[in-house]
């Protein structure tokens, strides 16, 4: 079958609704009698909750109810663990401490919910929150990762004897032995700080309990509607079919909307059922900075051993990972960091040890990149240091260490975030880097342009950073494909969608099989009433896992269609072709039958059908990869820095991605562009500033700086395609690829621009102020 649609720049099915304000987001849900919720949140990061007086709030006109932990009685229980600690890996210590619906006894981070007000509208609800008198006894806050582990540090969780949440040791080969062989051993301390996902749409949830039908409908800004349904049913003592969770249009996810259960997801459905009234809670931007999960905080003490000719003999990475006040998401992030600290390089000896630390800060769960940028930052910073020490060109030292094409599948012998062995399934790395070098004109820049610019007194630098991205992890997703009586196609799948264009790429996959127009394929994703098996959209897995499940279902339906059509047209199946919504005989185009007719024939209203046949032209299929597909890419950048003001302008930005089969280049480019802007934010603009008392000092878009159109460069995107052998479509994920290498690349390019200052950057994010401090310190010696 020749590809007609896959790989084409097909316009998106979902756009007309989004462009005209007709697409429904959670805050757009209106129900008669809808009530509105607002939460009282802690001003303190760490405190004992001594008393709570909600009487004034309850009396305020327009207030329907005020609930505290106490009011929830026996229904008060912590959220479930999202990810359990790795069962397989040995040397694992893990203390599971999960977020609570409403704080009881103790506050563990600023912004933790203490009480909820339900009122006629949000304005009144917020008035009433100010009526609540809360008596908090402040405790010393646990903020710094290292001090948190010192004996005598205050404890985030009093029942533990330290703030150590988890400890995980992994090794490959024998680092210590390799170190002895080394000509050069470099040790560095690398510090990476926190950022926010800052999706444009804040979180929100609407819960509607219908007493008569005993049915609960929930609209939730979640990346994982099915687990939310199952968990909610269990908590409220309902059968799963009594709960329907809808993730409608979602205004960006980027990871935190995968986290569950958020306290609000525990409280709002409970309150709706208790009050028998529909309730809406919409997070405001300030809450989003406190109550929505964040990521990136790690401190690495790392050591690399190399031979004189720049070959990496071994790598040792001991690091701390900040998980915030609770750790419902297990070890996903630090495992990703461990798996990416070797980058795309052939490293035989690797030792890695992570200590996960509880702090009095907002919870940490994956944010676009999910531990991968930290791993890539570590190895790439070390290689830049090594290339200077050894006098080997930064490109050359990377080339010498990249995994060769004939080494795939390449087994690392450690476990990945899904607890399966880390195996790089396929790839051809060096050509990807070569292409990036050509696109940005590396040779010419180094040879001609940079020296000329330097003579004009301008500080312009270049960098290139290769990286891997583990994607498309299990366990599985599923889908149901149906040819409807109209001849149009209906597809239901479980993953939520947050702007990735699933309505289009999935439709392309189906249309490819069934020979219909992409616009004739209607996708429903993220509605448990339509499909209720699956996990969610995360880890760049939508197109890989759900995409392949849809493909598998479409293939079965195609078979059914051909079977029936060959009877009707009495022609062997191999002489039939599907096109334009019809099945026709290849060489006699006028002998054909429409999918609509076939759909009706397959679902007759009268008469007998052959025993054992299934009605309809429909199939449900599932896909679960043996292990995740690993994508590869290289980014290159030219930037100019004004060494007086530290203002930076990115002059060129090039990315080359190998994410296997490309379903839709238009959408792929969009994913890359967005990923890069996210990464540029991580590298230079975005940092969550917590003070020594755990107060977040920049909980607004005025102080938390996400890149705007005037900061973003044009991004030139190139492709190389190495199909993944792990799935039919040959796809690998790309959702996080744009973000992963940027901070490392940015640091490399700045060092290159300021070569004569011999600056070494070992931290992220940067800022003009920080660069000024680093350079001043350097000059002071």
């Amino acid at each position: 079958m020749t590809k007609t649609l896959i790989g084409k720049r097909v316009l998106r099915n979902e756009d007309p609704r989004l462009l005209t304000g007709q697409a429904q987001f959670v805050d757009d849900v209106e129900i008669p009698g809808l009530l509105h919720a607002a939460f009282l949140r802690s001003d303190h990061a760490h405190a004992r909750l001594l008393g709570l007086d909600v009487s004034a709030a309850r009396q305020r006109p327009g207030v329907v109810a005020v609930f505290t932990a106490e009011d929830m009685g026996a229904d008060w229980e912590p959220g479930p663990p999202l990810v359990s600690p790795p069962p397989t890996a040995k040397d694992v210590l893990f203390h599971s401490r999960r977020q609570v619906p409403l704080a009881k006894d103790k506050i563990r981070h600023a912004g933790e919910a203490i009480a909820v007000v339900i009122a006629e509208n949000r304005y009144i609800a917020e008035d009433a929150v100010e009526d609540i008198i809360v008596d908090l006894e402040p405790l010393e806050a646990v903020v710094d990762l290292e001090q948190a582990l010192h004996p005598g540090s205050p404890l985030v969780h009093d029942d533990l004897d330290s703030n150590l949440a988890a400890h995980l040791f992994q090794k490959k080969g024998d680092y210590e032995a390799a170190r002895k062989q080394a000509d050069l051993v470099l040790q560095r301390r690398i510090i990476i700080d926190r950022g926010a996902a800052a999706a444009m749409e804040n979180r929100g949830i609407v819960a509607d309990w219908d007493e008569r039908s005993q049915h609960l409908t929930i609209w939730d800004t979640t990346q994982a509607p099915i687990p939310i349904r199952n968990g909610t049913a269990a908590r409220l003592g309902l059968s799963e079919n009594q709960v329907r969770v809808i993730a409608p249009f979602i205004g960006g996810g980027f990871g935190p909307k995968m986290m569950m259960f958020y306290p609000e997801e525990l409280v709002i459905p409970w309150a709706a059922k208790k009050l028998k009234r529909p309730i809406k809670w919409i997070e405001d931007r300030r809450e989003n900075f406190y109550a929505t999960t964040q990521e990136r905080g790690q401190i690495h003490d790392v050591e690399i051993a190399l031979s004189r000719d720049g070959h990496i003999l071994g790598l040792k990475d001991i690091f701390l990972h900040d998980t915030g006040a609770y750790d419902p998401y297990g070890l996903t992030i630090p495992l990703n960091t461990q798996c990416h600290a070797m980058g795309g390089y052939d490293i035989k000896n690797f030792t890695t040890e992570v200590s996960v630390v509880f702090t009095n800060k907002t919870l940490v769960t994956p944010v676009r990149g999910a531990g991968r940028p930290q791993g890539i930052y570590v190895i790439e910073r070390l290689l830049d240091a090594a290339s200077k020490e050894l006098g080997i060109d930064p490109v050359e030292i990377r080339r010498r260490n990249l995994i060769p094409a004939d080494a795939f599948p390449y087994e690392h012998g450690i476990i990945d975030q899904a607890f399966s062995p880390l195996i790089l399934d396929s790839g051809n790395y060096w050509p990807v880097m070569q292409k990036a070098l050509e696109m940005i004109g590396y040779e010419k820049f180094i040879r001609d342009e940079q020296p000329r610019l330097r003579q004009d007194g301008r500080y312009v630098g270049i960098g290139i950073t290769p990286f891997i991205e583990s994607t498309g992890v299990g366990p599985y997703e599923g889908a149901r494909v149906t040819v409807e009586a109209s001849g149009k196609i209906f597809v239901a799948t479980g993953v939520g969608t947050q702007g990735q264009g699933h309505f289009t790429t999935f439709a392309q996959v189906v249309a490819e099989q069934l020979g219909v127009a992409v616009s004739d394929v209607r996708i429903v994703s993220g509605d448990t009433a339509e499909f209720h098996w699956g996990t969610g959209t995360f880890a760049s897995r939508g197109a890989v896992v759900a995409g392949n499940a849809i493909h598998a279902a479409a293939v079965i339906v195609r078979r059914k269609v051909l079977e029936l059509a060959s009877k009707q047209l009495d022609t062997p199946e191999d002489e039939l072709e599907l096109e334009g919504g019809r099945v026709r005989v290849a060489d006699i185009p006028n002998r054909s039958i429409s999918l609509a007719e076939l759909a009706n024939l397959a679902n007759p209203l009268r008469g007998a059908v052959e025993p054992g046949t299934e009605p309809g032209l429909e199939a449900t299929a599932y896909f679960g990869p043996r292990y995740g597909a690993t994508a590869f890419g290289a980014h290159a950048m030219i930037l100019e820095i004004d060494p007086e003001t530290m203002m930076i302008e990115i002059k060129r930005y090039v990315t080359v991605e190998d994410c296997g089969t490309v379903l839709n280049p238009l959408i792929l480019e969009g994913q890359i562009h967005g990923g890069v802007s996210f990464g540029i934010g991580n590298a230079y603009y975005e940092k969550l500033h917590f003070d020594e008392n755990g107060q977040l000092l920049n909980a607004s878009f005025a102080d938390y700086l996400i890149p705007s159109a005037t900061e973003m460069p044009r991004i030139e995107v190139g492709h190389v395609e190495t199909r993944s052998p792990l799935n039919e479509l040959g796809t690998k994920g790309v959702g996080e690829a744009g973000t992963i290498p940027v901070p490392a690349l940015f640091a490399q390019a700045i060092e290159n621009a300021l070569a004569d200052r011999e600056l070494e950057i070992l931290e992220s994010p940067l800022s003009p102020n920080r660069l000024y401090e680093l350079l001043s310190r350097k000059e002071a010696g």
Binding site: R17, R285, R714
Partner: protein, 165 residues
């Protein structure tokens, strides 16, 4: 309890009269009182631009204007630009150039761009980026949005050049 204010205004060409609390933000009035949920709210402190609407043709943050201030004025929201059947040229260009991903910031960007192209029908890329600098988008990296604005400008110009029948 402050007294209600009898508000009368025109939204997308239709006149509305309603009593509102003075503190009601225009964004909330449009979304919740009029059910025009195309206007999105993302920061409520005037930085992100998602709630941008046209007030007497001027692009303004509807989260920084009280509904009562629109009394006797005319407001245009994304719903007033075009329909699914008949997209506004700017909306069509955003579709063609893939200037939309999650679509949450899009309505505010569309209203901003419509006003911008009225003032400056033939903008440079730099001018376009400046015009977009008050609208945050987390998905696109802005590149396809900039492309979309360029395409819209081109299409609108050629449309004007068509000889009138």
């Amino acid at each position: 309890m402050p007294k209600l204010f009898d508000l009368a205004l025109t939204v997308n060409g239709t006149r509305f009269e309603q009593a509102v609390e003075p503190r009601t933000l225009l964004s909330d009035f449009l979304r919740h009182d009029l059910g025009l949920t195309g206007t999105h709210v993302a920061c409520e402190h005037g930085v992100c631009g998602a709630c941008t609407v046209l007030l007497d043709g001027e692009p303004v943050r509807s989260c920084l204007v009280f509904a009562v201030q629109a009394h006797g004025h005319s407001v245009t929201t994304v719903e007033g630009l075009g329909s699914i059947e008949q997209l506004h040229p700017v909306q069509e260009a955003f579709r063609q150039a893939h200037g939309v991903q999650c679509g949450f910031c899009t309505p505010g960007i569309l209203t901003t761009v419509v006003a911008f192209l009225d003032d400056n029908p033939d903008p440079s890329e730099e001018e376009i980026r400046e015009a977009l600098s008050g609208n945050l988008c987390r998905c696109t990296g802005y590149q396809h949005i900039v492309d979309a604005v360029q395409l819209a400008a081109k299409n609108i110009k050629t449309a004007h050049q068509q000889p009138a029948r």
